[in-house]
């Protein structure tokens, strides 16, 4: 039987002949059109930004299109430090350390760590969903919102959950500190929701804090996960490179007696 799929035809889609961006303006070097003579970021001269701004200001500028005002600057700076170091026990740090001690080439260590940090467990995977959820619902009281969610689904709220079985109490501290210093509509709403869910054994996660602050600062949901990865990158990289000059034996390698191949053991039990 002949399928019509055998005849392959172009759809004739029209692709743009030029890339368009609102972020970066380069002025070509008259000597070489592949090099830039000057660069502007959202209109600001790049070399002037080097002299007059903190790195967190320029990150803010890149994504929001404007430099932050003093209140925004401080909140964004504090958020970036709140997320800067997931710590040596985090799976992403463990991956970074494993890459470092395994003598993976240095340029691969950070991408590996950030890839693992892209997961749902204490990672960034839910930041985008959390931002969408908070933007949709923070206009109504947290008490009403909480009452509309069936009990079994409360643990599935983006940015909320548990860490090793319990609410993440360190995340709670970070949230409280940010709230006390800055307020913010979504941050306040998230704290209220956290307080209502905590008796049920569910609490704010770091991804939820990041999502709430980014909402208050006007960032788009699609920007959230990558920004949280960016914030955590220094800690993840430092943790891995700390091990880059250490021998393989400085990383865990569980001995055979602590390594159980379950299926074989089950088969062995069955044969008995």
């Amino acid at each position: 039987m002949t399928s019509p799929s055998a005849e392959v035809r172009s759809r004739g889609d029209e692709f743009t002949p030029r890339l368009a961006t609102k972020i970066t303006q380069e002025v070509p070097n008259p000597e070489n059109p592949y090099q830039a003579q000057s660069v502007r970021i959202h209109g600001y001269d790049h070399t002037a930004l080097m002299q007059g701004c903190e790195v967190s200001d320029v990150i803010y500028l890149l994504f929001r299109g404007e430099l932050p005002n003093p209140q925004e600057r401080e909140l964004f700076r504090e958020l970036s430090i709140a997320m800067i170091n997931p710590g040596p026990r985090h799976p992403a740090s463990q991956a970074s350390i494993t890459a470092g001690v395994g003598k993976t080439i240095s340029v691969n260590v950070l991408p590996i760590a950030l890839t693992v940090y892209g997961g749902e467990f204490d990672g960034v995977a839910n930041v985008e969903d959390a931002m969408r959820l908070y933007r949709r619902n923070a206009c109504k009281p947290a008490a009403i919102f909480a009452s509309t969610i069936p009990q079994p689904q409360k643990g599935d709220l983006a940015g909320f959950g548990t860490l090793y079985g319990d609410p993440d109490l360190y995340a709670e501290q970070l949230l409280q500190q940010l709230l006390e210093r800055h307020g913010g509509q979504v941050l306040t709403w998230v704290w209220d929701l956290h307080s209502r869910l905590k008796p049920l054994g569910i609490g704010i996660q770091k991804s939820g804090i990041c999502a709430a602050v980014l909402c208050d600062l006007g960032f788009q949901p699609r920007q959230g996960s990558g920004l949280m990865q960016l914030f955590a990158a220094p800690g993840l990289l430092a943790q891995g490179l700390e091990f880059a000059n250490k021998p393989l034996t400085s990383m865990l390698f569980e001995p055979d007696e602590n390594y159980h191949i379950e299926k074989i053991e089950e088969d062995a039990d069955e044969s008995c």
């Binding site: 040596p88 003598k103 080439i105 590996i112 693992v116 990383m251």
Partner: protein, 272 residues
């Protein structure tokens, strides 16, 4: 004005490999992919074709299939696999996990770079012994001296354990496929004999592969390209194992599991 060469590439893509011409089919290295390759060649033959531009024999494709089984197995204590397992525990996608593990094996200690160095080593050894007329024992002495008297020749000795069960399996496969030991592989065995007598160290799978692939006419750089994803399958397996268990449940660490050896607690300096 040295940019004229780049003008030749501006606005056009040049390929020596092939491509998809809509309605006219897919070309790979001069072959009609759907009519001359699909169903006629193994996937591993095509992997080698894409990496080197040369289509190997079906027997060498089968050898490649077998060696990939030897090079990637599902033990999460192996560094690249550990990263896959951590990614599963962190709830990344299988693609992210597998790619992170593959990137980890771009390592100076294990994975692909020692293999490239192994091929360089045996080809240099062959050239030196052939051109300078020194005997194998003298060459080994010279190489051991370079490593401070230790038998750290690329392709010999092995982390964690002595001996290598994979060599016997691949010798059997090579014999079944009709391959005879060539001059590089025979030299590799002679070097192993010297190291075994003096240091109780043997060839590892890297040394065997390096000799075999050199006899097949592959350069170190070609070997790096052919085997760029050599560990992917074991990484995926380790990801699957942990993603099907509770989140964060791969080798979780308690706070007290980490030994801190840094600076004592101290106050921040006053801000300027």
């Amino acid at each position: 004005m040295n940019h004229a060469e780049w003008d030749d590439y501006h606005g056009v893509i040049r390929s020596r490999k092939g491509g998809w011409l809509i309605g006219r089919g897919v070309n790979s290295h001069g072959l009609d992919l759907m009519n001359e390759v699909v169903g006629h060649c193994s996937y591993m033959q095509v992997v080698m074709l894409n990496a080197t531009g040369r289509l190997p024999s079906p027997q060498l494709g089968q050898w490649m299939d077998a060696i990939h089984i030897c090079l990637s197995w599902p033990d999460p204590r192996i560094w690249c696999n550990r990263i896959g397992a951590l990614a599963g525990a962190a709830r990344t996608s299988p693609v992210a996990a597998t790619c992170a593990g593959v990137m980890a094996a771009d390592s100076r200690s294990y994975g692909i770079r020692p293999l490239q160095e192994g091929v360089e080593f045996i080809q240099r050894a062959f050239a030196e012994i052939d051109t300078r007329g020194i005997d194998v024992t003298e060459f080994v002495e010279q190489e051991v001296r370079k490593h401070g008297g230790k038998p750290y020749l690329m392709g010999y000795a092995r982390p964690i354990a002595k001996g290598d069960e994979r060599i016997g399996a691949m010798q059997r496969v090579a014999h079944q496929l009709g391959f005879e030991d060539g001059p590089h592989l025979r030299l590799a065995y002679a070097i192993e004999s010297c190291l075994s007598n003096r240091f109780d160290e043997t060839m590892n799978i890297n040394g065997y592969m390096s000799g075999f692939l050199s006899d097949q006419g592959y350069s170190p750089e070609e070997v790096h390209r052919i085997f760029s994803a050599l560990v992917f399958s074991g990484v995926t397996a380790c990801y699957v194992d942990t993603v099907d268990r509770p989140e964060g449940a791969f080798a979780p660490l308690k706070v007290e599991d980490i030994e801190y050896s840094g600076a004592d607690s101290r106050a921040l300096p006053p801000r300027e």
